[in-house]
Each structure stands twice: as C-alpha cells, then as structure tokens.
Amino acid sequence: MSNNRKSYPLSENHADELRASNGFHLDDLTIENILNDKVTMADIQIAPETLSHQAEIAGAAKRYPLADNFWRAAEMTSLPNELIMEIYEMLRPGRALDRSSLDACAERLRNDFGAEKLALFLQEAAEIYTRHGVFSKRF
C-alpha cells in the first residue's frame, strides 16, 4: 500500500496515464484543442479509475472514511449531473414522503450504473429516514 502514497501526486508522477472518464487523454487537454472546439465538458470529467487511485492513496494514509467517499464518488462519475441533483433533492428532509422513491432510485443506480455502494447508501438512508420520521412532510 505504501506505493500508493508514493504515486501521489498523480499529476506529477502519473500524468501520462491520466484520462477523463470518457477516455479523453490529459495530453489532449490543450489550448489548441479548446480553441478548435475539440474539448467538451465530458472530456474534463474525472475518471472513476483516478478516484479509485485517490481512494487507495487516502486509505494508505489511514483516512478510511475519505477513501470510502472517493469510492462512492468513483461510482458517481457515471451519473449525469441532473440525476445527482435529483437524488440530493430526494435526500433532503420531507422531499420524499416514503421510502419507496429512495428504494427505486437505489435499484436504478444498481441496475443502470452498476453503482452498488451508492445503492446501499440510499437504502441505508431510506431505513434511517423511516426510523426517524424524516419522510414527514415539511411545509
């Protein structure tokens, strides 16, 4: 695991391997390509592999919850912005009125995005919200 700490910072030690989540290579993220409209926002989306690598680095530094967060974030890279915002809204107090919508979301994350950790996280929230009455409507 100590090798993971030594690989940091990736921008200095592994720059040649860095790609966006769609495979766009860091070397292609240049002014020329931006000027020629050859770069899109998708090309600057951090890759799940990179976040996984950062999770290993955080774990090697014994920052386990931070590592777990990076693992969840790695899964989240494939979620569209709108879906991330939609689920965030659903997790806020009183937005969802029972656990079914959270459970449905969890299934969708699991099936459509292979996001097992995020699915479990939503199911856990559904369980806690039920127990603590967070689903009650707030006006």
Partner: protein, 759 residues
Amino acid sequence: MTWRHQSNRWRRFDDWDNRPLRLDLFSKDDPSNGFTAWHGENDPTPSLTIKNRLVTAMDSVSVDRFDMIDTFIARYHIDVDIAEEAMAMSSDEIARMLVDINVPREQLTRLAHGMTPAKLADVVARLSAVELTFAYAKMRPREMPGNQGHVTNAKDDPLQLAADAAVAVALGFDEIETTMRASRNSWSNALACCVGAAVGRAGVLFQCSSEEAEELEIGMKGFTSYAETVSVYGTEGAFIDGDDTPWSKAWLTSAYASRGIKMRCTSGAAAELLMGFHEAKSLLYLEARCLCMQRGMGAQGTQNGGIDGAPLASTIPGGVRELLAENLLAVWLDLECASGNDARHSESEIRVGAKITPYLLAGSDLICSGFGTILKYDNSFNPSSFNGEELEDFLVLQRDFEADGGLRSVEESSMLALRQRAVDALEAVFDAMGLAVPTSTMKQSVVVASGSNETETFSVGDVGRISSAIQQKGITILDVIKVLHQRGFRDEAENLLFLLRLKLSGDFLQTSALIRDQKVLSAVNRPNQYLGPGTGYRVSAERLSELAQIRGELDKDAVISGQAVHAASEAKKISYRDLGDYIPSSEPKEVVVAISPAFGTRLFQTLAGHSLADVLRCLGEGIEAEGMAMRVIRCWHSADTSFLGLTAARLSGSGIGIGIQAKGTAVIHKRGRLPHNNLELFSNAPITSREHYQRLGANAAIYARGDWPEPVIVTNQGEALGARFHARVALIYAIETAMLVADRHPQQVAITFLESSNV
C-alpha cells in the same frame, strides 16, 4: 466645589462606556439554556459499548434511543478496531500526549478515530489556551500554513470582483471565496471571480458560496474548484431546519469529489444556539458531534471555529478558548481546518488582534476562512476579523512574529495595472459572450476604487441579467478559456487550463491540499511532522525576507536624504561660524546653549518638524526676555542631552546651561549637579512646540537669576511616541554619535539669523 465635579459615578466608567469594546455583548454562563462553552446541562458522560463490532451505546445513549446523528457517527466515524483501546485511556493522559513533542501526530489521529464526541470534547477541554495553541501547531495536517480570502462587494459588481480577485491572488491567498447580496447573481459572481483569480498566478482555488444545489451546479460548469458551505449541525433539530440530513450531506460530499472539486464542510460553535435547537448541550460537545459526522461523511476537511456563530460564542465565558478547542478537535481528527477567524467577533481591535494571534503563531491549513480582502462594507459575508482596512496590520503581525500567515505585501506601483488587466479580461469575456458592455468610465472607476462606494458601474438589475444569461446560455469554463485566449489574455487562459488539467488528477481532493508554484501540497505529500524545535514547518530565509517587506520601511539613507531636503532652506535662515575653543566665562548674565555635532551641519529639523534655526531663535528670545544673553557652543565629545546640558552649565558664567540635540530633545542643567539630575528635561521632542522652546529659554534665564520658575510641562495625549519616532531617533542619533571626537574641546559658535523670525 463646582458643578463640574459633581458625579454619582467614577468617571472612568464613562471612558470605558465609550470604548468600542462596550458595543460587544457579554452573556452569562447558562448551562440549561445552551449558553456554555464546556459544560452543558445535558452533555453526556463519555462511554462506548460495542457488541459484534457494532456500537450498541455511545455517550450514555443506547442504540434504540440514537438520533440520526448518533447513528451516523456510530456507523461512519467510530473505528471499532481502535475504540476499545482509545476509550479506555484516561482523558488526562491523552491531553498530555497532545502537547508532548515525543508523541507523533499519527499516534494521536489514530486514537481520535476510536473516540466518541463526548470523549474527544472531554480531552481538549482539559487544555489551557496555550496548550491548545501548541497542540494545534503539532496536529494541523499540512506542513505549511495557508490562508483564504473573501472577494465580494456591496453591488455584486463583476468588474470589481475581477479586480479584487486579482489583488487577492497577488496578496498570496491560496483560496478565494465569493458570495452574493442577491442570490440570483451567483453565476455572475462565479464567472467574474474565476476570471480575476486567473490573473497573475495559476492554482488559486476558488469557490462561490451559494445555496447547496446551486453551488454544486456552478461547480459542474467548471467555474469553481472547491466548495465549503456544506453545513453540518450538532443536533437533529438544527440539521433538519438547515434543510439537510447527514445522508444528504454525505451525498453532496461524494458529488463534489465525483466532479473533481475539493470540498470541506462547515460547522462551528453556537450554530445550534442561534438556530434554537441546542438541547442544553455545550458548544464544544455539539461541535465534536459535527466533526465526527464530517469525518464519517468522508469530507477531507472542515471550516470551523465558530464561523457565523463566532460572535455569539465569544459572548460566553471562555468562548474564544472554546473556538481554539474545536479547531484542535478538527485537526486531531485529521481533518483539514480552515480555522474561522472570519465573522468579526468583536468591535474591539484588541480582542480581534488577540484572537488571531494563536492561529498566526501555530499556523493553520487556512488561517482565516475568509479574511476580508475587501473593505468591511463590501464584505457580503459580514465583516471579517481582518478586512481590506486592516490588511497591513496582518502583514505587520506576520513580520513581528516572523510567523507565516500566508500573505505578502503588494507593490503600490503595480496594483493599477493588475486591476486593469483583470477588468479588461472580464470585459473581453462579457463582450464575446454577449453578456454586457462596460463603459470606460465604469472600468476606470473600478480600477482605482478602494471600495464599491466609489464606483460607477453596473446596476444590481444589470448584474441579475448578466447572471441569468450566463446560466441560460450554458456558458462553461471551456468557453471562458477559449475567449480569453482569443482576446489576448493567454496567461489567464493557461492559468485556468492548468486548474482544469489538475482536476483530472484528483490530487487536490486529498486532505489539506493547496497549490503553490503549480504543485499540489497536501497532508499526503507534505504532512506536518512537528516533533519539537527544529522540526515541522520552518519559515525559509526567502520567505522571511518576504515577511519583512512592509510599505515605508526606514533606513539611514532615507533619514539623511529626508534631512538634506531642508539644508538649503536652513542655510537661508541661519549661519554658524566656529570661533575656536570655548573659554569659560564669568559673565553672570548669560545662559550657554550647547548644540550637538550634527545640529545644523547634517541635521536640520527636530522630530516635530521645526527648523533648527527657529528653535535656536526661540531659545534666544526666551533667554533675552528674562534679561540674559544666549551664547552658543557646539560639543564634539558627546551628543547626549544630559552631558550637553551639563557641559553648557559648567562653561556658563551663570552656571546654567541648556543642552539640545538636533532632533530637538533639550535639557536645562546647572553646574555641580549630577549628569542625569537636571533642572528640566524636554524629552518628547516630537510634541515640543516652538513656544515650549521659548519658555525653556526663559526658565533657564530665571534659574540663572537665582529664582525658581514654574517648570514647563510638555503634555501629551497618550501618543505611542516610541512607535512613531524611535526608529527615526535611533538613526538620527547614530548620525550624531558617528561625528563625535572624544578629545575635542567645545567650540564657540557665532550664530547669525539671516531673516526675520515668524515665531
């Protein structure tokens, strides 16, 4: 007794009432109403029970009675592999380990991960303010300290935001943060600061504090590189009223990381008290809950130390120590800490200066989590501890203590060009995107303005329209980079691209990351490894000389050239002619005045700015008014006032002499007295007037007559004369002492006044 002396109170209380301090409120310790730093009525006793690797009771609450926060902490924060060992240790022992240079930081962060909120609070509450400061220096995660600044203004004026962001970058801030007066202006603020922060240097992180969802949306467009306003509260009631839960905030935490955006949470003493959900628990215990939650969520860091609650926390006995304690909790848990010192906690400048000192001495990941880089009235977060007005005070504190507060001086000569560049860059983006066209008057007014009261710029309505257009057109950071490059702002385009490229690496998502010289420095590659003197962060020689630079430093050349300016005008007023060694006289109707070596030769003005010719004329007029004659000698063996005066007295026929230095310090002396036992001393040259010199002359003549005059008192208003003058005094006096000739006899000097006096 006259009416003027009637009073039913000691009038010192009137003086005290009128000090800014008395605008502050002070509240009584009231544990049942949440007004307590350390000991809430309902604070639990630390405890932890684990069965089958699951927490079944924590801090005197069993799992079936857990609220959402307890549940979250038990699941995500408590490391069951460490908990038994950590909870079994005595709080005193752990407290001592925190200040022990022989106990490495990692050993302590490990233990913290097995401790409950009540246990963590119990440990840090045992440390005094100085122990908290020391422990903070040892425990903060990153080796070198940093700082964060607010860039906002009262008009949400994007031109000014761009100019002020560029200034903040020049001042050395590692992070800049903006927010709005009108929330709809968020997109405009984000774009303007993003462009301004790209002027001058790459890698300054930028955030736009906004509503939770919108802040993330702005980040997704690439304008911002970090987020900080992910607020966390220590009671369920406050959390729900804040419109979130630990799970929704943890979701946001991952969301930021998934878009390559650095993120920290916000919490701080007294937030729950302000929101009305304190549960009769102490500030420290509630904050310990917040911090355990944040760590559990996987946030790399926190912004704590009161924050918006700091002013309220500071009204409570020990509240400021509590702020230090909660910052220590954050770094002990291994979280990056942006340590507050933002919302100004007091109207007293003494309290403000005292509050920042421990942080400046100990260093902090971000000393302020928002230093106001703009004027107080332009700070849309509320005035900070330090603002545009007091920025140089902070620079001088760095210089005084040789402590790195992350900032540096800016060159007066380069600021207008820098601000112009930022405004021009933003204008280029606005123009190319069809957002707005600022007039040259608008731009000029912003470039020179200290604050928004002085600008003629966009109306608040204009800004709203600009902001909506940025959002509706779907403008992204890529558009901005493209336009900047096309319009000739290539460095700025490259600087923004640098951050985009860095985002792909995720490097600045790690704990305590900031960017200096295009390198990411974080707790991973530059951890704080303080283990006593000679270890940890040491200010480099190069940085020391940067800290030393402050506007208007004095040196000997500056003093000499300052004096030389007056040489010509003095030559028109007076001539000094040496007549050889002075022979003691027996003339009883004389007062001898001994002048120092540089008097009228190298130095020409007193510290009060009086011409030396005028001063001598005043002395002479005073002496003559009392029927005596003035005779002038110049001493070469001493420039000390006492010895000048005593020499004059010994050589004077009347036995009375005056000694005077070029800087204006004077004495009346009498033959036969001990050198430092004079008749009258005029030691405060900076406030000695020409009238004083006249009366000095007169009194000397009265002593010469054998009478006792009323001594002349030079009254002051309590000015810190040492601060104002001593550096100049020392330089001037060195000019005098350098001219001394130890064995040279005092010389008689013929004085001729060349023009009529205006005294």
